[in-house]
């Protein structure tokens, strides 16, 4: 993996690639666990980021409503 900082978009792209690879059954069993592990990492990252974003948005919105 590149050392670039993971962003939601890059994670999502990578995840999509893995999904595509797995769906097209291009992946061998040797690689499968590695890929699934990576996918799980990416999923976790994306979900956390998404969750964080949602919370941030809700907080901002609630601040807005208080006004």
């Amino acid at each position: 993996m590149s050392k670039k900082k993971l962003t939601y978009d890059s994670a999502l792209n990578e995840l999509q690639e893995i999904v595509n690879e797995i769906e097209s059954e291009e992946i061998g069993i040797d690689e499968l666990s590695k890929k699934v592990k990576r996918a799980a990492e990416l999923l976790k990252f994306c979900q956390e980021k998404l969750h964080q974003t949602e919370e941030d948005v809700n907080e901002i919105l609630s601040q807005f409503d208080e006004k």
Binding site: Y8, L12, I18, V19, I22, E25, I29, L32, L50, V57
Partner: protein, 477 residues
């Protein structure tokens, strides 16, 4: 020569009065411009009537409007034209000529035609509009784009004017709770001094270096009279080119003034002007609220969408991975089954072969044994017959030898003869006997020479004779 007076001044004036009265004994409709209009405490109106050719005055006369007629004439005029009689106004009036011995000639005003003034005013107004249009000033102020939020306002009005109060009340008591920063630039809003006063206020406003969202022009309200200043060319030239957009709240019933036309936005009343500003701001608030709503909606939608993608990805990966693994499992199971099956088959087939081989071997070894036995018997037979033969042959041979032995003395004789012959032969072959006969042996270094090719020049040769030796040397010829 001394002259005698023909008239006294009063006689002459009386005469003149008589002639004027008889010659101009009716009333006349004339057109003139008013100048120096004034009203006496007793209600009489005094003025001058002038006619100009360009800037040049080419005729001038005093005129009076007596209080007895003034009320009726002036109110009819004001009702129709919404104008007061004032200096600079061009009017059509009905006059009679009056002559007074002390005050001289003057014109008595009997009627003023409002229709003419109205037409004249309209003509002037149209002229002003046309000029402004030609100069590109009619829509000049409209090019400003109003601030999204109008908050800092310059107001040109009169502090005591009802319209100004209306405007401020409406603005400050808005239900939205908007706050405004306003500054009044006071000006006279009607009458002859209005134009100069408004222009002065505008100068002050623009010199203040304040950044206003708009200039609101608010007239006093009340009377519909004396709106002519807002048709003034100079004022509108100046207003049109103001640094800020102009909102007009002049407030009158009749057709819009020229100021309304050049204004960025024309409002019918001061209250309407305030309402416009509030609504303008409200529209902006609504717009940003809507935009914010759109953003929120978009954000929520995006999050939902992403969550869906996550779920899909996660499901897809899980499902597919399990599928892949189970597929491989099945494949392995299949392999294992085939391996089992093949192994069993292989073993079975080997067993069978083995059995066959065993059977074959048993059969083959048996037949081989039989055959060997047979061969052995044969060989034994052959052997015994050979032994028999050999025995017989040997017996025969022994018999022969016995026979030969019996005849051996004869053989001895024969051998004796043979030996003596050999003895003779040997005797003859001895070199001594050969040398005796005169033959010689030539040697080089002790070896007998049988061939000349072995000889070289100066070789020493020894020649052996039966008796004695000759030494010789080869000399090449």
């Amino acid at each position: 020569m001394q002259k005698s007076p023909e008239y006294t001044l009063s006689n002459l004036m009386d005469e003149l009065n008589l002639i004027i009265r008889s010659s101009f004994d009716q009333s006349y409709w004339i057109v003139a411009e008013l100048a120096n209009v004034s009203t006496s405490p007793r209600g009489h109106m005094y003025m001058e009537l002038v006619e100009k050719s360009g800037p040049q005055i080419i005729a001038k006369a005093r005129a009076n409007l007596w209080s007895s007629k003034r009320q009726q004439i002036v109110s009819a005029f004001e009702d129709i034209t919404h104008q007061t009689l004032k200096t600079g106004m061009k009017v059509m009036l009905q006059v009679t000529i009056d002559f007074h011995s002390v005050y001289g000639m003057s014109l008595q005003i009997h009627d003023i035609d409002p229709a003419y003034s109205l037409g004249e005013l309209e003509r002037q107004r149209q002229e002003t509009i046309k000029k402004l249009e030609e100069e590109g000033l009619l829509d000049f102020n409209k090019q400003y784009i109003l601030d999204h939020v109008i908050q800092n306002l310059a107001i040109i009005s009169s502090k005591t004017a009802a319209g100004y109060q209306d405007f401020m009340n409406q603005l400050e008591n808005n239900t939205q709770g908007y706050t405004f920063k306003t500054r009044l630039y006071p000006a006279i809003m009607q009458g002859e001094k209005a134009v100069g006063s408004i222009i002065k206020a505008l100068d002050a406003l623009e010199n203040s270096k304040e950044d206003y969202s708009a200039i609101v022009i608010i007239r006093g309200g009340g009377s519909n009279l004396d709106l002519a200043c807002f048709d003034d060319y100079q004022l509108n030239v100046r207003l049109a080119q103001a640094y800020f957009p102009i909102l007009s709240g002049i407030g009158h019933e009749r057709d819009q003034s020229v100021t309304d036309m050049i204004a960025h936005t024309r409002l019918k009343t001061p209250t309407a002007a305030a309402e416009f500003i509030i609504q303008h701001n409200q529209a902006f608030e609504l717009q940003i609220t809507e935009l914010f709503g759109t953003i929120i909606e978009f954000v929520k939608m995006t999050i939902d969408e992403q969550q869906y993608i996550m779920e899909q990805s996660s499901n897809s990966i899980a499902e597919k991975s399990r599928m892949l693994i189970s597929k491989e499992h099945n494949l392995l199971k299949e392999f294992s089954f085939y391996i089992n099956k093949s192994a069993v088959e292989l073993i079975n087939s080997n067993n069978l072969q083995l059995r066959e081989t065993k059977a074959d071997l048993a059969y083959k070894s048996k037949s081989h044994k039989n055959r060997s036995n047979f061969q052995l018997q044969q060989i034994m037979q052959e052997l015994s017959s050979s032994i028999e033969n050999f025995k017989r042959f040997k017996i025969l041979e022994i018999n022969n030898l016995q026979n030969q032995l019996l005849s051996s003395p004869l053989i001895l004789n024969k051998q004796k003869n043979k030996l003596s012959y050999i003895q003779n032969t040997i005797k003859l072959s001895n070199p001594e006997s050969i040398l005796k006969k005169g033959f010689s042996i030539t040697r080089k270094n002790g070896l007998a020479i049988t061939n000349i090719s072995k000889l070289l020049n100066n070789d020493i040769l020894e020649t052996q004779l039966y008796q004695g030796m000759i030494k010789s040397k080869i000399i090449k010829e």
